[in-house]
């Protein structure tokens, strides 16, 4: 299916948000994810979040520095 990732349309074989991040090699433990109007903090359980075609996904990575 196609989803909107960081404002661009991408093709994915993933059916859950966790699988999508894995496909993109993004560590969900160190990222804030916005999906379908919900905010998922770092480490949230994304395996139960099902992807829908055309749904917008925004990922903000948490980086070292302070």
């Amino acid at each position: 299916m196609k989803v909107i990732f960081q404002n661009s349309e991408v093709e994915t074989a993933a059916s859950t948000l966790a699988a999508f991040l894995s496909e993109r090699q993004i560590d969900g433990a160190r990222a804030i994810v916005e999906y379908a109007g919900e905010v998922y903090p770092p480490g949230a359980d994304l395996a139960a979040v099902e992807l829908r075609p055309g749904a917008p996904i925004e990922v903000f990575k948490i980086m070292a520095g302070g």
């Binding site: 919900e38 905010v39 903000f60 948490i62 302070g66």
Partner: protein, 199 residues
């Protein structure tokens, strides 16, 4: 506290009545804290387990004669030099998933001021959904690109300051001005939350 004459009595009272948590007393936390004390925030709960060392002085609010001392104790001393009446709760402790909610139980707003990405993520995960406003930072390393540092809101309780891409690395060190910009933006965000203005 020497009050800001441009604030209304009501605004001063709101700031003075606030309790703000700061997780980490490094470059972000120490500099954010000084801005909050100068702004008249009444009570800070600052937690860190580290000691001041020589490499901290390039960006953190400490002095050479404080090397070797616990950061929270040295920071409390420095903040009280700005405002002797400030209520500074200095906790020499390591924040983890198990204690984060208890340590900051009295804080309506918590500033994430760690340096490591895993610690930052841990705190956001631990406090998400707790009803507290979280003000984090991510992507603040290096120098220049001031306009790339911005505020992002995530839902109703989480704000992240930074450019979203500049992680600390060998070629991208933490540097006083850029860390200071982010720390000041975190403090500015806290003040705006307390006074009810646009973030």
């Amino acid at each position: 506290m020497q009050t800001n004459p441009y604030l209304t009595p009501g605004e001063r009272t709101r700031l003075a009545a606030a309790t703000v948590g700061i997780a980490g007393a490094g470059g972000l936390g120490s500099n954010c804290a000084l801005h909050l004390v100068r702004s008249g925030v009444g009570r800070l709960v600052i937690a860190d387990f580290d000691v001041v060392n020589d490499s901290n002085l390039n960006r953190q609010f400490y002095f050479r004669d404080q090397i070797g001392r616990k950061k929270v104790e040295a920071l409390r001393e420095n903040l009280l030099r700005i405002d002797p009446e400030a209520d500074i709760v200095a906790l020499d402790t390591k924040i983890d998933v198990a204690n984060a909610k208890d340590v900051f139980a009295q804080c309506g707003i918590v500033v994430e001021a760690f340096d490591r990405a895993d610690a930052k993520s841990m705190l956001l995960g631990a406090l998400a959904g707790s009803g507290k406003q979280l003000v984090a930072a991510s992507g603040i390393a290096g120098w220049g690109r001031s306009n790339a540092i911005r505020l992002r809101r995530f839902g109703g309780e989480m704000v992240v300051i930074g450019d979203g891409e500049s992680a600390v690395s060998d070629g991208m060190p933490p540097f006083s001005p850029r860390v200071g910009i982010a720390a000041a933006m975190q403090a500015n965000t806290v003040v705006a939350m307390l006074l009810g203005r646009e973030l």
